[in-house]
Symmetry: C2
Subunit: 185 residues, 2 copies
């Protein structure tokens, strides 16, 4: 109970990977089981149904968001810079869970859509004390959503990231963060 079965985590990893790389349609029980290296029966021992599998992913997202909000509150650069900067997907656990949940939501899963909105509100509550007003808060949050959305779309196209002009990195990201901080403070 303290340490969940390894197979369970591997199944969740595989589900996430297929959602991100190939979309909601491709994330069948067969495909997830195969990628995780278990049989379909084995998968269904850990997750009783496909809905249960989705619930497992959303629970994982929730845990990661709790940790992220804690980090956001204590970071030296301040919550706004932290939030914008970490919205550029680096492929860490939170990024992956978030994009996978977004795929689920757009595929028509109401639980995923509801959870994403809850998560968003938790982030908003953390950012609010650091910005001037509600318009500034919206600017920061919507910009972050835009970054995630573009990363999610980019991911669908095979093997291409290097020269994408719409997901800024390096000095372009620094410039964007600086511009946002001037606008909202």
């Amino acid at each position: 109970m303290a340490r969940p079965p390894l197979a369970r985590e591997r199944v969740l990893d595989a589900y996430e990977a297929i959602l991100i790389d190939d979309g909601e349609r491709a994330a069948t029980l067969d495909a997830v089981a195969k990628t995780a290296g278990v049989s379909k029966g084995g998968l269904l021992y850990h997750f009783a149904s496909k809905d249960d599998l989705a619930a497992g992913l959303l629970q994982r997202l929730d845990d990661l968001v709790v940790a992220d909000v804690a980090a956001m509150r204590t970071t030296a650069e301040g919550p706004v810079a932290y939030y914008v900067r970490t919205s550029v997907m680096e492929g860490n656990a939170l990024d992956r869970a978030l994009v996978a949940a977004s795929r689920l939501a757009q595929g028509g899963n109401p639980a995923a859509a509801a959870r994403l909105r809850e998560v968003r509100e938790r982030w908003a509550d953390t950012l609010r004390p650091a910005v001037r007003d509600e318009a500034a808060l919206q600017l920061v949050m919507l910009l972050s959503d835009g970054l995630y959305f573009n990363n999610a779309i980019s991911g669908t196209i095979s093997a291409e990231q290097p020269d994408d002009p719409f997901v800024p990195t390096g000095s372009a990201l620094d410039a964007l963060v600086a511009l946002v901080e001037r606008a909202v403070r």
Copy 2:
């Protein structure tokens, strides 16, 4: 040829509506045919396959974007204000085609993902002369993506829009537009 068959347009409307309201998974040929008021055979006369149906939707999106870019170039309030303001979904033809295509892209359709990126670049080219630098351009574009993304997520949850704090309308939208224009000009 000059005026496409009415049934074809009705099928496309139905496909769009189901994608928006219920997600990619729900947009089966059966469901689309039923909503459009034709049989599955009738649908497949106009669109030879499901891929062909998706291609029809993407073509419709393309036509609407051409018209939108033209409007953006000639509007009195300027392209930036026009772009941000019209990113709040009002349920017009362009909004609907865009959200439907986004559902398709996140569902794993590579053609939809590629088309969305092309569309984005056309908008970027139109906005570029009106903003200070590339960071400012990114801020405007990402914010618009965020607005669309949130509207897309909201749409998934049944019958709820009135008190959504994240899709600003009225004076809140005016404040956001003003803030963005100050930041990017």
